[in-house]
Structures are given as C-alpha cells and as structure tokens.
Symmetry: C2
Subunit: 292 residues, 2 copies
Amino acid sequence: MTTALTGHKIGFVGLGNMGAPMARHLHAAGAEVTVWNRSEGPAETAVADGLKRADSLPALAEEIADGVICVNLTVTEVVESVVFGKGGLSEKLHEDALIIDFGTTGVPATKQFAERVGGNWVDAPVSGGQVGAEAANLTIMAGGTDANFSRAKPILEVVGEKVTHLGPPGSGQVTKLANQLIVAQTIDAVAQALRLAELAGVDSGKVREALRGGFADSRILDLHGDRMVRRNFEPGGRSTWQLKDVRLICELAESIGLESPTLQNCRAMWEKFVVEDGNGDLDHSGLFRVYE
Amino acid sequence: MTTALTGHKIGFVGLGNMGAPMARHLHAAGAEVTVWNRSEGPAETAVADGLKRADSLPALAEEIADGVICVNLTVTEVVESVVFGKGGLSEKLHEDALIIDFGTTGVPATKQFAERVGGNWVDAPVSGGQVGAEAANLTIMAGGTDANFSRAKPILEVVGEKVTHLGPPGSGQVTKLANQLIVAQTIDAVAQALRLAELAGVDSGKVREALRGGFADSRILDLHGDRMVRRNFEPGGRSTWQLKDVRLICELAESIGLESPTLQNCRAMWEKFVVEDGNGDLDHSGLFRVYE
C-alpha cells in the first residue's frame, strides 16, 4: 500500500504529549520514522509501535542523511542544545537535511538557527493541543523558504488540518506568538467579564450562554469560559507554558519596537499568577482565580 | 391578518439608527405603535410609514396607558430625563405600564429606575448593531421580574433572534457590560497581535487567516481584524460609545469590588484614544492606530 509519506525517511526528536502522537501519524502515513527522546519510556513505546530508534542525536542525523528531522521540544534553549549543542544533531547533520521545528520557539533565535543550518529550517508551531495532535487536525503556522516549505508540506499535512505558509524563517513563530497574545489577553477579558457578572449577582453560566454568537463570542469564551463557570482548572494548557509564550511575545515586541501598556500589564498578570502565586500547573483558564 | 403583536399598544421613544427600524418591526408585527422623538425628521418618517405620533412624552404615556413603552436612547442621563424629568413620561405614566429599556444604561441607575416605577421595568440592551436592528436578529440580554419578562417577551422576540432572561432588573445591563468588556479588550488584543506581525515583517491579512478557527478565533478577529488589515475605520460602532460603555463597566466594577489592573489599563487606553486623541467618531476597531 502506498500512502502520503511512502519512501520518506524522517527523524523525530521529542516524544512528549504532542510529539509522540505526531511521530506515530507520520509512521502510519508510510514514512520510515527514527526517533530520539531524552527519557527512555516514550522511545521504547515508539519502538514497540514499529518506529526505529537512534542511540544518539548524531546517530539520528547520520541515519536521516539528507532527509527531514522534526523537533518538538518545550523551550528555545532545549532546541538550541539538541540541534547545536555538544552531542547534538549538528555533529553529523547533512548539509541538505531539513529541520522542522514544531515547538513555540523565540523569533530572533529561530532566525539565527535557520542561518546556522544554511537556511534549511522550517518553523512550524502548532495550535490545537494534545487533542489536536492525537486527532492529526492541528493548525500549523509555517515559516521558511518556498522550496523548504514545499519539502515540509506533505509532512505538515499529515499531522495538521490547516497549514499556512506565512513567509521566510521565523514567520511561523511570529504568527504563533500573535495567536498566543490574543489567547492570553482574551482569557483575562473573559475571566473579568464572568466574575463581574457573578459579583453583580448574575449567573455566569447564563451570561456565557447569552453572549455566545454575539460580538463577544470566541473560542476562549466557549471553551475556557465554560471551565471558569465550572471552576475546572485541570490542564489542558498549563499556565507555565502560557507565561513562557507571553515572555517570548514581550521579547519580540521589544526587538521590533511595539510599545503596549496592555502587553506590559498582561505580562505582569501572568508572572504574578504563575511565579508569585505558584499556579503554573493550573490550566491557563485558571487566571480566573485572580478575580476571586 | 393576525400577527404576533395584534392588539398590542406600544409606545416607542428614541428613533435613532437602531430605534427607527425596531419601531417599524413592531408596527409590521401588528402592534399599534405610537412614537416620540426629540428631533422632527425621524418622527415624520415614522408617521409616513403608518405609525402614530405623540405630541409630548406625557401624551404618549397617556395614550399607551397600561401598555408597554420602549425607550432606546444613548446615555443613562437621557433615559432618566425622558422617563422622570420635567415633561417626561412619568407625569402621566399609568401604574401598570411597563417600560422596556433597549439602551445600554448604567446598572445602579437601572435598579433605581425600576424601583421608581414600582418594578415595572425590563432592561433589554441589545447586541448586533444597526445591521441587527434592521434584520430584526438582535441578541437581547434581559433583566426584570418573571412576570414582566413574560409580558415583554413577545415584543423582544419580534426585534431579536436570541432573547435571554438573566434575572431581576439590572441583570440585562450587567450582561451587556460583560459583553462590552470582552469586546473592548479583545479589540485591543487583536490590534496588538496584527501590528506585532506587521512590525515583524509578516502580512497581517495572512496572519488573520491563519488564526481563524483556532484558539485565538473570535467574532472580533473576524470582523474587526479585517477592518484593521484593510485600515477601514468608518463606523460601524463609534469609539465614543465604546468609551461610554467602558466607563459604565468601571462604575459597576467599583460598586461591587472587582479589582482589575487590566480594566484600569483598558479604560486608560480608550480615554486616551477618544478624549485625548479625538478619535471618537472612528469605528472602535480604530484602536489599532494606537500601535501605528
């Protein structure tokens, strides 16, 4: 049987909650997938599912040669270390290999990384969470040269439902940060609105229902508004990651001269909520608690 | 022909962009509608369309007797003056008359007004703008006793598509202010996100498209995001009215003890944009200009 990725050799680094199902979807689509993961368990599970495993990052780079290596890691520093650090991919990286970074990584760093691998870098941060990764219907915001985007596209289309090419390397990360800025601030707005209603003696569940479909409607009002009404702050999307993204947004805003008191206030809110009040493990809709 | 409001006697005060089509829909639904408007033109047009006209507010109150009087005015002070002021409705208001206030009026004031007319008050602020008023598909957030809401319901259902009863008098206004809080802050968030993208060299139209359907999606991203991308700030919804609503939100927040640095920042943004920079006649999506 020939499927979308038959004949493709793909490396996959980082088998977390999202990386693991994504690597499995690539395998199911016919690719020969070789994985590497810092901890043993996820790599062993992948092997049991028929994927290959590399003993080290340089060995993975050697195995993939001029193919595609996907990385799905948590923070910019880990991406740098895995690709360029001691014992990293770059020790054996083929000059024609293409790296696809599915994580949310800083914009200035992404541009540097792309230069350091001769341009063969596609930033492809995703939206949709673990549920989207498992269902292979992620929204993907991609940056890279036209040629590299074309090369990455069949892979992106296996794990994503909506794939948009925004421009040169870094453009995908810029778009993801625009997304996260709206999410961070809309969660805050919905939290205030529902709490305002409660304190004024009006049922917040009824208010949420009344607002659906109108100008105030959003995915955040729908999904996170419901969590706020029910006080269900199990993650979901951890507040720690929301703060990480808000910091990246501020870094980008500063580097391009976007001045925004709202953004300063937004950062102060999330810093206090996560760092000072210790709520990093709550779902980001838990920001509601600030108003209780 | 018998229609929804056959046999109803309804007064309508305030034939602005929204009030005029709403009064006409009530007439078309079979009600005998008597109007009053401060300026001549709209009242004359209404008479030409078959509606009745009262010479004064007390005359309108006398004509309607124990029926329903709708008011659709711009600010709290005008509502107070029209209902309770010298030459206002209350000079001849029947004790069983019901007032429906379609405007966005302050919450503490609404509760007072309701008391002053013996409880016969339904606050029914709307969302959907002039387009929604003309299409009779407004979203209506209603507050009032169960008995008065039942009395108002056939009228609300003629002009609105989605009618929700939130609780006692004032609850509709609370809900409308929750709506406006989300709108004011989401416009700001979308403005920052799109401008962040532009300053980082990414096409804001493409970013808006890439974000549609994801966690950052909202009616504001859809409608107002498009206005920002195209720099089309013709109203639409004037920034003057957005600021008026933000002030009402702050008044309510203070009266119930909701503390929010975000809300303080939001008010400061809109005050500067409208009062200091003189942008009150721009559509509220024009807040984007703050970031240019």
